[in-house]
Structure formats: structure tokens, C-alpha cells
Subunit: 190 residues, 2 copies
């Protein structure tokens, strides 16, 4: 029996794809097995908690990716504009210009009481907070920074939904551009 993966992290991309494409309930173990190339034996070896643990690992992995690729540049950049540019580039690449679904957004739209509500809320809270802080450091007043950050994060979510439904990646990129412009305008006025 040839070893297929070295550590459980190697299974995460396949797991994420399975959950993204089929949802939590729709991602059966056979679907997951196909997506990851792993049998039940390996899956339960790396994730003794079963499907639930696999989903938690995927969410944690996504959160970690955003932390380094999106939030860190936003909060560390000297000039907020630099951080915003880095965020938009990372977002466009991550979501493949709206072709790739947002797992966290989709699960947040699901059951009112779902077991992943807490990490999902944390993800959006953190994103909004980091963006708001960047705007405030650029001189934008607190209340304006808050609503603007909400508009931008929400606008990105909506753009993913629309561009996927309409199968129009151009819509995603154009929306990202307009959101960037709004952020720049607010910074320029401050």
C-alpha cells in the first residue's frame, strides 16, 4: 500500500473542494474519498472525529490562510493603501475572480443554528475589524470606517454570489475595483 500523503494538511485542499462543491451534508465520505484520493482508513486515521473534524480543519485552514494573506498585510502595512491593494489582489486570486465559491459564506447562509456558526462569525468579525483599523489609521473617522468596512466585506461576498450565479468573472473583478475606489476616496478625503 503506497503512502499517499505525508501529513493531514495535504488532505485539506481536496477536503475543501469536496465541501465547497457539495456542501457539508452533500459531501459524503465517498465524495470526500474521491476528492482527496484517500480511503476511509486514511481519512479516519487523520481525522478521528470524522466528517465534523474534517470540516473544522478546513475552516481553520481557510482562516489561517486569510490571516497571513489578507489580514496581516492590512494591519501591518505602513500605508493603508498598500494593505488594501494586497488584500484585493489576494482576494481576487483566492476566489479565482468569483469562480470559486466562498465556503464560509455559503455555510453562514445555511442552517440558522449550525455547529460552525462561531468560526464563521469570527472570520467575518476579524476581517471587518482589521479593515476598519486600517481605515482609521489612514485618518477615516470611526463610524465611517466601520460602515465602509462592512460595505466592502459584504460587497465582496455579494460579488462572489453574483458572479458565480451569472458565470461572469468580469463582474467580480469590476466590483473589486469599485470597492477599492471607494476605500481610496474615503482615505483621500480624510
Amino acid at each position: 500500500m503506497a503512502r499517499l500523503i505525508a501529513e493531514r494538511a495535504d488532505a485539506l485542499p481536496g477536503l475543501a473542494e469536496a465541501f465547497r462543491e457539495h456542501g457539508y451534508a452533500g459531501a459524503s465520505l465517498s465524495v470526500i474519498g474521491t476528492a482527496t484520493g484517500l480511503g476511509r482508513g486514511s481519512l479516519y486515521h487523520f481525522f478521528p472525529g470524522g466528517k465534523r473534524e474534517m470540516a473544522e480543519a478546513v475552516l481553520a485552514n481557510i482562516a489561517a490562510w486569510f490571516e497571513t494573506a489578507v489580514f496581516a498585510p492590512l494591519s501591518e502595512a505602513e500605508d493603508p493603501r498598500t494593505g488594501i491593494d494586497a488584500m484585493m489582489v489576494a482576494i481576487d486570486r483566492y476566489f479565482q475572480s468569483g469562480r470559486r465559491a466562498c465556503l464560509i459564506g455559503a455555510w453562514g447562509l445555511g442552517a440558522t443554528r449550525n455547529p460552525f456558526a462561531a468560526p464563521i462569525a469570527g472570520y467575518f468579525q476579524r476581517w471587518i475589524a482589521v479593515l476598519k483599523d486600517a481605515l482609521q489609521r489612514g485618518g477615516v473617522a470611526e463610524d465611517h470606517a466601520t460602515t465602509l468596512a462592512q460595505d466592502v466585506v459584504g460587497g465582496i461576498q455579494g460579488a462572489i454570489t453574483l458572479s458565480r450565479a451569472l458565470d461572469d468573472p468580469g463582474l467580480f473583478r469590476a466590483t473589486l475595483g469599485r470597492l477599492t475606489a471607494r476605500l481610496y476616496t474615503a482615505l483621500a478625503a480624510a
Copy 2:
């Protein structure tokens, strides 16, 4: 055996709730049975096509509701502002200020190739087209009307996602207010 419902339309609210709360795959027939109060016998009597037909009926029902409650006022109002106000009021009530999930949005975020892609795309296309037409009738230039309509429809979708994830209905209402203001501003400048 007491008759429970008179026609299949009476089952749609329960069906919609079941699909909204559990997704398509997660809404098992027992979940659907509980939500509608109907047994398998009745369900397959009204929907011979099974789960798939139930989902199609729900989507068609939602589309019809939007047609009369949102799209019609938008396209028939003398003053675009009247139509926009009616749209926003209907949207806020329908989505219960962001507490209720958007079934169409959630399913659009799901599998890339899903059997309901066509009606979902049609729903968003129509919404954007009707809103764009209303803006143009109000004197807004076509390209601006298009991007503005996309921003508003996408913004509403994003606001649902955010306000549900953060459990904050106020965020939804406030976002709706800002989107309305943007529409009014564009109309005033035209």
C-alpha cells in the same frame, strides 16, 4: 385520514423552510415531512418528481413572489424612487432584516454545476435588469445604471450573509439604508 392541505401550494412554505435551513442535500424526506406536516404519501402525491420537483416548486414560488412584490413595483412605478422604496421595504420584510437566509443565494454558492443553476441565474439577471431599467428611466446613464444595479443586488446578498453570520439584523437594515441613499444620489445627479 383527515385532509391536511387543499393544494400543493400550501406545502411550499414548509418546503422552503426545510430547504433553507438544511440545504438541498440536508433536507431529508423526514425533515421535509416534519416541516410540512405531510407524510411521504402526500408529498409524493403532490410532487411525483420527488425532492427535485419540490425544490423546483420552491424556487419557482420564490421567483413568482419577487416578480409581484419587488420587480413589478420597480418597473411600473412612475417615479423610480417610489419603486426603489417599495423594493427595499419588501426586501427587508422578506429577509426578516437579514435573519432569514436567501435560498437562491445559498444554492448559487453551492456546486459549480448544479441542477438549479438556470433559475438562479435568471433570478439575479432579472433583478439587476429591472433595477437598471428603473435607474435609466430616472435619467441615469446606462453603464452607471448597470454597475449600480449590480452593486445594490450584490450588496443586499452580502448584507444577508454578514448579518446572519454576525447575528446582527441592524447591520442589514443599515446597509439597505446606505444602498437606498446611493440610488437616490445617482438619481438626483441625473
